[in-house]
């Protein structure tokens, strides 16, 4: 209820991102709308190619150009439409009010610069802090992400760090300017399973400390269950279902979401239940089936599914889905 009274921190309306390919333009992201409240954790889940990473990049207007461009929509952050800002204003948002953490900690750090210089860079960019002072702040940041012996580590190079340590450094850099929102694009995909939980716990803890909102892009439904307040499920560039984590886990309504849930092992279910894979492959964005993009793989597909594109409809307090099939199935 409180969320509907005040306007959300981030409001995305009808965001559409096109990529130019050999076979013409494809919509990597198609009329995506979503909200993020201050301090909330929103998970965006989907298979590879479902448009979740492109959605994340387009929020900061970092879609690779000239092949990709945002063709429609609004990204209203803190009352300001980011898509109307000029380059300089946009740079003042990046890393300062919205920070991003990338998928591959092994390659997200510049191999030729010391850690200190890289962690201190956001201070120098956004606050004009002199290097000496920025390095001091960088040390404090490394302490906060619990990197031992942080003073000596400032002089070290990225190749002297392990993957988990590098991702901690990336988190430190993201937190530097106390952003209102952090976008983490599959932050733990490249890490060992044992390190994944540490990194996510740390990220969650620190974002709660600074009251930053967190958009967690992932394909790991286990991560979603543990860390997300709300979830958006994407398929072929569109949001097919969104709701609280509880809605998605206990009352999944869209056939795709249900199929995803049925395809992962769960500790709270009878071990005799078989895992059910989803038949077929995700469609190529260049050759989307007419109507609902999921209908060729959907076991409930009925008459309107192949002709019309379903819109998101409210089915619970914060629960929406885009499907024609009767919710009761």
């Amino acid at each position: 209820m409180a969320g509907s009274m005040t306007s959300p921190l981030l409001q995305v309306r009808g965001l559409t991102v096109q990529f130019r390919t050999d076979r013409g333009f494809v919509n990597a992201v198609d009329s995506v709308s979503l909200n993020v409240d201050a301090g909330e954790t929103l998970a965006v889940v989907g298979e590879s190619g479902s448009g979740k990473s492109v959605t994340a990049l387009s929020l900061l207007r970092l879609v690779p150009s000239p092949q990709g461009r945002i063709v429609a929509g609004e990204v209203i952050f803190d009352g300001q439409d980011l898509l109307t800002l000029d380059d300089r204003q946009m740079r003042a948002v990046r890393g300062n009010r919205i920070a991003m953490i990338f998928q591959e900690p092994m390659s997200s750090l510049n191999p030729t610069l010391t850690m200190g210089l890289q962690v201190a860079e956001p201070f120098s960019i956004h606050d004009g802090t002199p290097w000496a002072a920025a390095l001091g702040k960088a040390k404090t940041l490394l302490d906060r992400v619990r990197i031992p012996d942080s003073g000596a580590r400032l002089a070290a190079y990225p190749h002297q760090f392990s993957g988990g340590m590098r991702q901690r450094v990336m988190i430190a850099m993201a937190l530097a300017c106390r952003p209102r929102m952090i976008i983490a694009d599959e932050p733990t995909t490249a890490l060992d399973v044992t390190v994944q939980a540490q990194i996510l716990d740390l990220l969650k803890e620190l974002t709660q400390e600074t009251r930053s909102a967190l958009i967690l892009i992932t394909h790991d439904l286990g991560v979603v269950a543990r860390y997300a307040d709300r979830v958006c499920v994407m398929y072929a560039g569109r949001i097919v279902e969104t709701g609280t984590a509880r809605d998605i886990y206990e009352r999944a309504s869209h056939p795709y979401t249900r199929a995803l849930m049925a395809s992962i092992p769960r500790l709270d279910r009878d071990t005799a239940t078989r895992l059910e894979p989803i038949e077929g492959y995700p469609p190529s964005l260049a050759q989307l089936p007419p109507g609902c993009a999921f209908h060729p793989r959907c076991r409930f597909a009925a008459d309107p599914c192949g002709r019309r594109v379903p819109m998101l409809e409210k089915i619970g307090e914060r629960h929406h889905r885009a499907c024609f099939v009767d919710a009761a199935v």
């Binding site: 990338f102 750090l109 860079e121 956001p122 002089a155 190079y157 190749h159 002297q160």
Partner: protein, 301 residues
């Protein structure tokens, strides 16, 4: 954890030593890259000889002695004398001065041009890349010699002209190499990460692109030094370089050296060996420099 910590503490202990960064660099050069250090020593020797030629050379560079013509190496003239009786040792020493000045300044100009053009077109891409690189195509499709003959016949031969022209020629061609390197660096995740922290284009070029193409730039520069010294000798041969009687190595090699190759081989050998040595020394030093400056190749102390 332990082996990760070692390099960092090593860096700290070496910092605690009183030696400045330059001295520490020399120590590393000698310890880790002895061949590179040898190259640097040879090169410095030639540089010193060139700079101090007025003091070191036993005779003037154009001091003619008609009686002692084409004399083989002896105690009076350790490298022999040429067809006009000029002392070859003195001429080689003065030649070091000219060749080193030309080699370095032209290679420096070439490298700066290559880096500026290559980094801008490689990083910005799109229309800038398209337009500038078509100019580079057009420039490279002219035979160098035609360009040189036209320009020199308009502005006349001389050292500044040679330096400027060779710098421009090698610089524009080299921009392709830098551009290629920049394009591959540009696609790295850390460049995207830098964009996501709000870094300006200039900052990204300076902090993230340039340090990562430095190894290629160093190699480009060192190979250019050799190439420029050789190109200058070619120019001198057709009378478009530094005009005689100025003692450039190329001029000596292609002038008297070629004419009296069988009767007096020392005329060609002396400048030829010097040329080879300097080019070799600069190249091995460049390789060592590239390895030492790259943190990824740095071994734990």
């Amino acid at each position: 954890m332990v082996e990760v910590a070692q390099p960092a503490t090593g860096a700290l202990t070496s910092r605690r030593r009183d030696a400045g960064p330059f001295v520490r660099f020399i120590v590393r050069l000698v310890r880790e890259k002895p061949l590179g250090a040898f190259g640097a020593a040879i090169f410095l020797l030639f540089l010193a000889c060139g700079l101090l030629a007025d003091v070191v050379a036993p005779h003037g560079m154009n001091q003619i002695n008609p009686i002692a013509r084409l004399k083989p190496p002896s105690l009076q003239a350790p490298l022999g004398t040429d067809s006009l009786g000029r002392d070859m040792l003195s001429r080689v020493l003065y030649g070091a001065q000219l060749s080193v000045i030309i080699g370095f300044s032209a290679a420096a100009i070439a490298t700066v041009i290559s880096v500026v053009l290559g980094v801008l077109t490689g990083y910005l891409g799109g229309k800038v890349d398209m337009v500038v690189q078509r100019f580079v195509d057009a420039w490279m499709s002219f035979p160098d010699l035609v360009l040189l003959i036209v320009v020199v016949s308009v502005i006349g031969p001389g050292m500044p002209q040679v330096i400027g022209l060779l710098g421009l020629l090698f610089g524009i061609a080299g921009s392709r190499i830098v551009r290629g390197a920049v394009i591959s660096v540009r696609e790295n995740m850390y460049v995207h990460a830098a964009q996501s922290t709000g870094a300006s284009t200039l900052r990204i070029l300076w902090h993230h692109i340039l340090p990562n193409v430095t190894p290629i730039v160093i190699v480009l520069f060192t190979t250019r030094v050799g190439a420029v010294i050789l190109a200058e000798s070619g120019l001198s041969f057709i009378g478009l370089g530094v005009p005689p009687p100025a003692p450039t190595w190329g001029g000596m090699l292609s002038g008297a050296g070629r004419v009296f190759m069988y009767d007096a081989p020392w005329l060609a050998l002396a400048p030829g060996i010097c040329l080879t040595l300097v080019v070799y020394a600069v190249n091995v030093f460049g390789d060592a420099l590239r390895d030492l400056l790259d943190p990824r190749l740095r071994s734990a102390p």
